[in-house]
Symmetry: C2
Subunit: 969 residues, 2 copies
């Protein structure tokens, strides 16, 4: 346990994840929310929070005037963030430290940051005292509930001061002040939100411009002026803490802070508690009310925390699994539904969520509270235009407006309607929704949901060019791909495929959930829809298949992009995934695509969205190419896209690959330091640009808003567990990864409870599903009764899989490793990887400058190759590796990985190579280093089993000889 970076725990049936040091993952966070607010809490004590009034607002600011942003990817500015700190002073020695860790960063005797599903907790030991700090929220208020529990484990009395120090920060240039309110017995900071026009004065009346910090006991002293508190000592050693008491002075137009001193004397083993509330308010009366409600007694405070916990656990969802992988279970059973619930519950606390997010978030709610999905679908449709088009955002209140990115025209929103509706109907069989009638945003007409959907699909089909491909305008699902079609001509291969898929979903819905009469009425239309969807697939194949993968689209100027002629953005993941979903890709195409995904997109941290990442602006593609390489949409492991891929893999029965996508999306022990995140949520991305910036690859964005999780949960339920509704039935088609012998699932479905016990067994050749001895021929349960319990057993055949192969082509630089390796890989459709690509920039520069790498330089390089091969092995991918392998020790690294290994040595004379190298261009290897290579070469000894080939001949001959030697073995 001690070697784990973090630990999964269950306490009273509730999940917690614990981190035992503030140093290993300094940016690790958790988040809490309710319907009014959301907060992200860093393990070291930084915190940022935002509430709705109705637009997002803050009550705890950075110390300088902050831009109106909430959290930014990767939180690059934590040290300058608001925080909730607790300075602790030993009143006998004058010693100080800060809990949980910031801002003093004094070493603690022990530290633990523990993220719970409905709280965040730190347990800290220092001076033989145990400090437990807990943050919770309430169910429906904008207020933080803080507790500090202190236990004196000394044999003597202890005398300490606790100084909670909560950032309030630079509130407003118009007015900011703070003081200790003698009636409330706490600090109240006041500000006026800046404005200039008279009408805004009236608009601002309801704003909560006060921030309060009130304890359940009267402080011994207080300070509310950040600058005098810090003094010359700074936040890491505040001058005012050198005094016996805080200054007790009002801050008048001085940056406010909330600091209070509580002197505590504890006898041995005594336990004391301090409770604090912190939040925004409109006026003093509101604070009085909140205080009365929350701080009346310790019991009441505790009660409110329990209510919050109950609220969060309403979102526990309808599935629970027990697999051989307890970390995975913990995520799926606790953190995943929680994140799905967060999204679907509060729509990311926006007043104008993007339509695609709104619908996908709603889709996730089918497993939490399907009534919410229904309501959201109807709300979205009520804002549809009569043309069938969907707006870029869904307005959640009358005052809401489409803002920022929602003012830019995107063309994919209709796609998500049928996808979300299908998921809803499969889960609920609530066919009544199809006949609900609703209006439009721009017409007085009222139509059924069915008609609304028909219109949406027709809109998708209409928004195509003369080739029949979908226009992209200023973006599809990928917002920042905003210049592919801004002139009105560019098209999206992905959107064409997604439209085909969406239309097929809609046809499936009609065929499955309409009555026979209704079906007859629209039969022709459905046939036309199917034909149109097939045509979309056909046209994408015609215009966008490049022989090995699907391109991403065609620009305004008619250039196919995301294809072989591109040096950057050569391949995009989404068209491949959706070609699988829409059935545009044949099985043969899929095999080719798969090879390309592993050669170009896959990384140990997941599959990137595009590669190579762009490093310069492409004006025919747009904003995505301006983002930093490997960050966000520019080629990160963008989990939303990776999850589409995983979902598609399940749709094709690629159980191992699909599971690997799920698993690799979770922060894990092996990658913890690179990722820097706890598995309490799936972030929107991990950094990509794996070959360009290997040092940064895998780093989490720490952003928990992502469309990923709805699809993750759906993949677990429908794919991994194979428990999908369809019409009156529950299909049972589990797709376990090959290394799992069994899986237990508990599933609520349409009011019934299913207990599924899946076991792999040699005695069956195909899935056998039984209940009380009864065998279901077609692996489906029909007409389940709400309230009933169903114990189902599934036997799956054991898979006998051969080992994946690793062929290493070795030899000195210039011997032809790459050409030979590529050719071998192509012939067998194995993944080709070139060890040279795993060098980082420093090593490349070193070699280019004529200095040979030493063993120390090679360590990270070899580690990356090993890590990559391990990833391939996890995915059971055979591969060919071009690799110098000059030293025996470096060849032996590969023998224990688990592949079926073949090493081929391309033997060639120094002279021949010198001639070749002199002719090469664009290769970073300095020809002068060649002799050092021959010096370094330890020729393989016989017992290494290396196949040695004289490589001083044509590629054809070399390959022929290798194949011959291998088959001889």
């Amino acid at each position: 346990m001690a070697s784990n970076t973090f630990n999964n725990e269950l306490q009273n049936g509730q999940a917690r994840i614990q981190l035992d040091s503030p140093l290993t993952m300094p940016n690790a966070t958790s988040f809490l929310w309710n319907s009014q607010m959301v907060a992200q809490i860093n393990c070291r004590g930084y915190m940022t929070a935002q509430f709705m009034q109705p637009e997002p607002a803050k009550y705890s600011y950075a110390p300088n005037l902050e831009a109106k942003t909430f959290i930014q990817p990767e939180q690059p500015y934590y040290a300058d963030h608001p925080g909730r700190f607790f300075y602790i002073k030993n009143e006998e020695t004058g010693e100080l430290f800060s809990a949980p860790y910031e801002p003093m960063r004094i070493e603690l005797d022990s530290f633990s940051f523990s993220a719970g599903t409905s709280d965040v907790k730190w347990v800290i030991h220092k001076w033989n005292i145990e400090f437990t700090i807990t943050l919770s929220l309430t169910q429906d208020k904008v207020v933080e509930l803080w507790s500090v529990d202190i236990v004196n484990n000394n044999k003597q009395n202890i005398h300490i001061s606790i100084y909670p120090c909560f950032s309030i920060g630079y509130m407003s240039w118009m007015n900011q002040s703070a003081t200790f309110d003698p009636e409330l017995l706490g600090i109240v900071a006041t500000s006026v939100t800046p404005y200039q026009k008279v009408e805004d004065y009236f608009n601002n009346q309801a704003l909560k411009d006060l921030t309060y910090m009130i304890a359940d006991q009267t402080p011994d002293s207080w300070c509310c002026n950040l600058l005098t508190f810090r003094g010359e000592g700074g936040m890491h050693n505040p001058s005012m803490l050198q005094q016996p008491s805080l200054e007790n002075k009002t801050a008048c137009y001085e940056t406010p802070v909330g600091v209070q001193q509580f002197k505590k004397i504890l006898v041995p083993n005594e336990k004391q508690q301090l409770n604090i509330i912190f939040g925004p308010a409109n006026n003093l009366d509101e604070i009085k009310q909140v205080k009365a409600e929350l701080l009346a007694s310790k019991a009441q405070f505790s009660q409110k925390k329990q209510e919050y916990s109950a609220y969060i656990h309403q979102g526990k969802g309808s599935i629970s699994i027990t697999s051989p992988d307890s970390d995975f279970d913990q995520y799926v059973n606790h953190w995943l539904p929680r994140q799905v619930f967060y999204h679907g519950d509060v729509n990311r606390l926006s007043t104008d969520p993007q339509t695609r997010n709104f619908l996908q978030d709603a889709m996730g709610m089918i497993y939490i509270a399907p009534a919410v999905t229904r309501e959201r679908l109807l709300l979205a449709l009520s804002q549809q235009k009569f043309s069938g088009a969907m707006p870029d955002g869904i307005l959640l209140s009358e005052d809401a407006q489409l803002k920022y990115i929602n003012q830019v025209p995107h063309t994919d929103h209709c796609v998500w309607l049928s996808i979300c509706l299908q998921a809803y109907l499969d889960e609920t069989n609530d066919i009544s929704i199809l006949q609900e009638t609703i209006g439009y945003s721009d017409s007085a007409e009222i139509n059924t949901v069915k008609t609304h959907l028909d219109k949406a699909m027709e809109w998708l089909l209409d928004a195509t060019d003369e080739r029949g491909l979908s226009y992209i305008e200023q973006g599809d699902w990928c917002d920042p791909m905003n210049m592919v079609g801004y002139k009105g001509k560019g098209v999206s291969a992905w959107l064409s495929l997604a439209s085909a898929y969406a239309i097929k979903c809609w046809v499936y819905v009609c065929e499955t959930y309409l009555s026979v009469n209704e079906q007859n009425e629209c039969k022709t239309q459905m046939q036309e829809f199917m034909a149109a969807a097939d045509l979309l697939n056909l046209q994408v194949n015609k215009y966008c298949w490049n022989g090995d993968w699907f391109a991403r689209g065609i620009t305004d100027d008619g250039n196919l992009f995301g294809t072989k002629t591109d040096n950057e953005g050569r391949i995009f993941l989404n068209p491949q995934s959706w070609a699988m979903l829409s059935n545009a890709a044949t099985r043969q195409q899929y095999e080719l695509i798969n090879k390309q995904i592993f050669e170009q997109l896959a990384t140990p941290y997941g599959v990137t969205m595009l590669a190579p990442s762009y490093t310069q602006m492409r004006e025919d593609i747009g904003r995505v190419t301006q983002k930093s390489a490997g960050v966000s949409e520019n080629g990160s492991v963008y989990n939303h896209a990776a999850m589409f891929y995983g979902f598609a893999l399940y749709s094709k029965g690629k159980n191992d690959l699909a599971f690997d996508v799920l698993k690799r999306m979770l922060p894990n022990q092996k990658s913890a330091k690179a990722q820097g995140q706890l598995p309490v949520f799936v972030p929107n991305y991990y950094r990509g640009a794996y070959y360009q910036h290997p040092h940064h690859a895998g780093r989490s964005s720490h952003l928990f808003n992502t469309g990923t999780v709805a699809w993750y949960l759906r993949s677990v339920v429908e794919g991994l567990c194979g428990l999908k509704g369809s019409g009156d039935d529950l299909l049972i088609q589990p797709q376990l990864p090959s290394h799992w012998p069994s899986l237990k699932v508990q599933r609520q479905f349409r009011g019934a409870n299913i207990e599924l016990d899946i076991i792999k067994s040699d005695i069956v050749k195909q899935q056998v599903t039984t209940m009380n001895g009864f065998v279901f021929k077609d692996n489906k349960l029909s007409n389940l009764q709400a309230g009933h319990n169903y114990k189902v057993e599934v036997l799956l055949p054991t898979q006998k899989l051969s080992l994946p192969k690793l062929t290493i082509v070795m030899g000195v630089s210039g011997c032809g490793k790459t050409a030979v390796g590529e050719r071998l890989a192509k012939d067998q459709n194995h993944v080709f990887i070139d060890a040279d690509n795993f060098h980082d920039m420093d090593a490349k520069q070193k070699m280019a400058s004529g200095t040979p790498l030493n063993d120390e330089d090679r360590k990270p390089w070899l580690a990356r190759i090993m890590q990559f091969l391990t990833m391939l092995l996890d995915n059971r991918q055979s591969c060919v590796l071009a690799y110098s392998g000059l030293k025996k020790q470096h060849r032996q690294l590969f023998t224990q990985l688990g592949f079926e290994l073949t090493i081929v040595h391309l033997n060639v004379s120094e002279n021949t190579i010198a001639t070749r190298l002199a002719q090469r261009e664009n290769h970073f290897f300095d020809p002068n280093l060649l002799s050092s290579q021959f010096d370094a070469l330890e020729l393989p000894s016989e017992n290494e089993g290396v196949i040695s080939i004289n490589a001083d001949k044509s590629l054809e001959d070399i390959v022929r000889q290798i194949n011959q030697e291998i088959s001889n073995d």
Copy 2:
């Protein structure tokens, strides 16, 4: 010298101000600018800078995502600001410190921050090494020029590393990275300004999204990643400095910083120099060019600095004085014209300066470069509407737009046209401007400047209500007074007076500068204008005079405000000043007003703009009432308003009072700590709310953008030195303060050079002006010849002034001090002050809680009373002070101040008072404290000369007896 907080110096004829400690005025700053940029530099190393492209932008950001603001009043967030720091490591001992002081804050052997007019310099001693750090700008580029000069004063070699560490900060969430460019040999940070719409991509093409930091020598190592640089050590002790070298690693989507290591070995007495350039650029080529231009050689670098210095000194202006007050001379001769030049040169680096600022800044330029004034006047008039109305801002480029406050309708802009034009003509006699023809913003018509001005004046007269008072709409000069007239009815007394003044200026211009024919043509109109101006004065008297001062206006709902019935905002300074300028106030009225100004508005830090400051929103006045009390327009010493007052005082011949306004506006030794600012500029405000928040009163805003300085310079030239042009003449009417025996002035005027020698002498009864023995009867020089030199001598009569009187009314609480004192003051029109008003909140609370103040408590209170009395004395104001004076020692404090002192003791029995106090309301004195007062009372002894009155009788009787006793003395 050692006891001075700062020192004024002259080096090579150029002014410098030096601060010898980083601790005494930690927020002290200087500023530098050129036509492209402006920077504010803090004495401890923080710095903020902004450039135009064309809208304001940054290249050095705060570490978190910063709001788009430049500098905020009082710089409350310095510790979180960008900075330019120099870490210095002793390579032998490993010891570190940071220069100039931040962020390590290690004690130095010596420190000096020296603000020059065209550079900023620090000289620091540590380890027997002298470090001189200098910042300069160029004449026309956006780039900082930094030099570090090192002198080894040790007898041994020294081995140090210098690490300049320049903030680059959080540049953009879209893209930010940094690396060491091997060709440029410096750090280049790259970002993409965030945008979402395609059109903005094209708009953003020209933005300077790169920031570079390049030295004139190759660094030994470098780091450009803020977080890895700080590490766990933090900015105050960066972890990376513990290593022998910096990491030499690219930052890829990681907050950039510029840090470079330069190892230096210096033999004894050796001197070395390091030069660095730091700034923004659009692309690498631009940086190459800048580097080639600036860093080609040390000589070239030095040359660029000299050119910048020459550029700044172009603005030295046309007046220079030698007075008995060398600090004042230093400001007037160097810093004042510099600040005027800054304003007029670059219009505060805005693309849409507010019209009133634009015109007043242009007015200041008459003394620097009158051609600029002319051009600005014509530009402003070209944007006038045909109705005569002026827009809220003047657009300086085609792309510029009216933004922020310029979208709110204000009604005063026309006023500044004639004021500015008059000043221009008086200075230049350039009558051609009146016949220049220009167009309008909303009409094809073209008219002469004269017609434009006529229209502006007519617009002012039209924009009045049925009472003839000027509408205020959403603000006049006072922007945030935005709700007085937003319903369309409220009027401004100030604007009515200002209109009267502006019209009179216009009539004066016509009468002085039009030809006789032209005058004849518009004679009737001029008479009408004069009549209208007089009517404005009359109506303000009718509706807004409250018997003692002029109210500020009448709200939409018909409420007079800024008057006796108001508890807050009782009196405003502007209507009083402008009633003097417009001649609305008679001499008697002025005397009454003067008493009120000293009783209500005057503070030791200057005259506040209104009092008492508002502490709660008044919805019929507006935003000004929401600002923090004593801050900005809500009752600070708002220097722009104070300067109007000073100018008005000169217009009324109140030399002493006027000079006191000038003098008190400058940071000075006595108030240095309260103000926290060096006299390198006049800030826009010092905090007011003197009685409400005495602890904060006087604190500088540190903002150097202010309309104050044009008026300040004009007051010095026209008022103090009395050298004002008018028609063909130069009037010579110096207005020296009574304590100055002499003044020498050098003045350029219309190309001529005037040397004026002013001496006070007993031998004259009135001013005698001579040149080469020739006496000018009317004290004016006519028809001066450009290029000629005129030596003029002025004899002024010596003033024999009696001492101002201080009457102290003393006695225990409840004895009637206040009532008696007020009455005495009123009878003699002396200023009344009540010592009780000088208690701070803490003391009031203490007394209210029944605890008597001790001597320690009384110290700051007594100091404030002394400081206030000193201010009155400086202004030669007689006054009556109600003051307990129970102890002899407390009475004796007043004997040496310089007043003619009278102390009156109101003697009354304890019983009588107990009865009285029990009946009082709203007084913070606890009746239980009474007996402690009688205990404390040391009855005045005979030799104290105190007049003792039995106060157990009617007010009338008491006052009569006092007057009798005094006249008996």
